[in-house]
């Protein structure tokens, strides 16, 4: 059973378009993180959200944590080719639990 379900698995869009990817769970998470991973490299942390309903912005990226802390979304405005990569969500249900990752959304921005 995958505790963190990410959708879509793959997304290919034109540069300049907007997109949203999702991270869903049937369990409540105490904190949730989003990472971006490029080929041949390790994941890089983008954001951590801890409060239900929290919204964080990082330039053209907007992250939202659901009110019930069971889901999160990542919205990219005016996508650029540099946004191409694997987007992973990760988190822990309880404070002392180990981190678990979703399978990721592979995003490809076409020039």
């Amino acid at each position: 059973t995958q505790l963190l379900e990410q959708s879509p698995q793959f997304l290919s869009i034109q540069e300049g378009e907007n997109l949203t990817v999702y991270c869903n769970s049937s369990s409540v998470f105490s904190s949730l993180q989003w990472y971006r991973q490029e080929p041949g490299e390790g994941p890089v942390l983008l954001v951590t959200v801890v409060t239900g309903g929290e919204v964080k912005k990082l330039k053209r990226l907007t992250f939202q944590f659901g009110d019930a802390r069971k889901d999160s979304s990542l919205h990219i405005t005016a996508a650029q080719t540099g946004d191409t990569g694997l987007y992973l969500c990760a988190g822990a249900m309880n404070r002392d639990d180990k981190i678990i990752f979703g399978k990721g959304t592979r995003l490809h921005i076409l020039p």
Binding site: E41, V44, I99, K103
Partner: protein, 115 residues
Amino acid sequence: EAGVAQSPRYKIIEKRQSVAFWCNPISGHATLYWYQQILGQGPKLLIQFQNNGVVDDSQLPKDRFSAERLKGVDSTLKIQPAKLEDSAVYLCASSLVDWRRDEQFFGPGTRLTVL
């Protein structure tokens, strides 16, 4: 500041052989993590050290995998004997104390192919 170093970057072995991976975390980081990332999946935590003590190794297949961080700095992960299903990228990461409070920095990984 130097990042997390891992070696080798690539390794090809035959099943039943042994292999070892090395990780040097960022200087001053107390916590070190080893992850397994199978193609098409997210990383799975294998073992977490704080200094030279094990915090969590619940997902480490202990019949064939072992890891140590003897002096609380660099670490080695060993597989003996390897199986076909061990083919994956092995990622090492480090953080000051805890991934929830402090950013976790990942190395580039070691890509293992078991034939």
